[in-house]
Amino acid sequence: MLDKNGIAKRIAQEIQDGSYVNLGIGIPTLVANYIPEGFNVVLQSENGLLGMGPFPFDGEEDADLINAGKQTVTTLPGSAIFDSALSFGMIRSQKVGLTILGAMEVSENGDIANWKIPGKMVKGMGGAMDLVASAKNIIVAMQHVNKAGESKLLPKCSLPLTGVKCVKKIVTEMAVLDILPEGGFRLLERAPGVSVEEIKNATAGKLVVEGEVPEMKLS
């Protein structure tokens, strides 16, 4: 089983050199810590920042400089600031190639739900609906099962959707999976020490296992 940092570490392997990436709140934010040294990857924050740098040093926080998670951040040499409309302009026009975000549920056809539990929780979708409707590549970082022990990889989402047929890949504490064009979660990699059987039991949606499934390599 991976911890949150392990999930982030594995997802970081999906990031290509020379790419623009949007990281959602939670585990996705941690991915930034594992981008390979020497890679030129530019992080976009949808409130209006391209080239997001690390957190500021203690005492150097700037209330005017935050990311989409409302955290104080920094700029880097070559950063650019813009308004929220242009920010989603570059998202909608697919200049931001990869979006990594969390989810409450993912369905076997790539639907995602992550913004609302009717009658219980209404935080809002923020920029997630725009991101999943537009990005070429969408990777979900989440736990395989919820706190009640129920699978979050479902035949069909039960919660209100954030986007349809958009998720390309899922990384959980147990596995790496992608969504097959014809539907179904294809098991690509197992977390260290996790068996295919355990993943099967934790996956409510259709799981496709082709041949030997390798263990993740986390350097």
């Binding site: 810590n33 924050s45 949808e46 409130n47 209006g48 920042l49 690390p54 957190f55 500021p56 040093f57 203690d58 005492g59 150097e60 926080e61 700037d62 209330a63 005017d64 400089l65 935050i66 990311n67 989409a68 998670g69 409302k70 955290q71 104080t72 951040v73 700029t75 600031i81 813009f82 308004d83 929220s84 409309a85 920010s87 989603f88 302009g89 998202i91 909608r92 639907d111 913004w115 609302k116 009658g119 209404v122 935080k123 809002g124 979708m125 923020g126 920029g127 997630a128 609906m129 725009d130 409707a133 537009s134 209100p160 959707l161 954030t162 986007g163 349809v164 047929k165």
Partner: protein, 237 residues
Amino acid sequence: MINKTVKNAEEAIRDIENGMTLMLGGFGLCGIPENCINALVKKGVKELTCISNNAGVDDFGIGLMLQKRQLKKMIASYVGENAEFERQLLSGELEVELVPQGTLATRCMAAGYGMPAIFTPAGVGTEVAEGKEIRNFNGKDYLLEHAFDADFAIVKAWQGDTAGNLIYRSTARNFNPVMAMAGKITIAEVEHLVEPGELDPDQIHTPGIYVHRIFQGENYEKRIEQRTTRTKSEQHA
């Protein structure tokens, strides 16, 4: 140039009345028009429809107006930081329209650009699309979303001149420029009000033509919502 200066927040919001629709700039607590919000709370104007990305926190920003029950309706994209908001929403006291963030920004921009509606893929296939026109362009579905129609837009900038030209600082820019363009009447509060000629024409973010009233705000708290830092020892992490 045309002088847009008013004395203070009270004068700027003097004719905002019960039942009006207001846009309020800012993202989270970053770049919000603190002076005008405080003046609206003091004035006690009610039954407002507020368009803003977030609803502040319980004791700051739009949260202050929520506490005084000044809002009839909130149009926002993310309201997760505000318990009083969630309470009013779940109890039915507050009407809420949740809008994808990019759609929210673009519906503001559309108003400022004189475009009655825009197309966006955000929300296709979700409950956001309910009752909306869907149209396919080049094999992809888009929703038709309408420009906002706000009586007032209230924004916060870093620098402004008396002609209404505005310059924002860092990510406090966020929704402010698109809202500044979108109000029937636009009010700008700025940290530094200067004379025409002191701002470089090439660096203006919001041309003065969009701004009707401007004043220098005071006592900015600029509260930080998520103070995240690293220690010097992490420098080479």
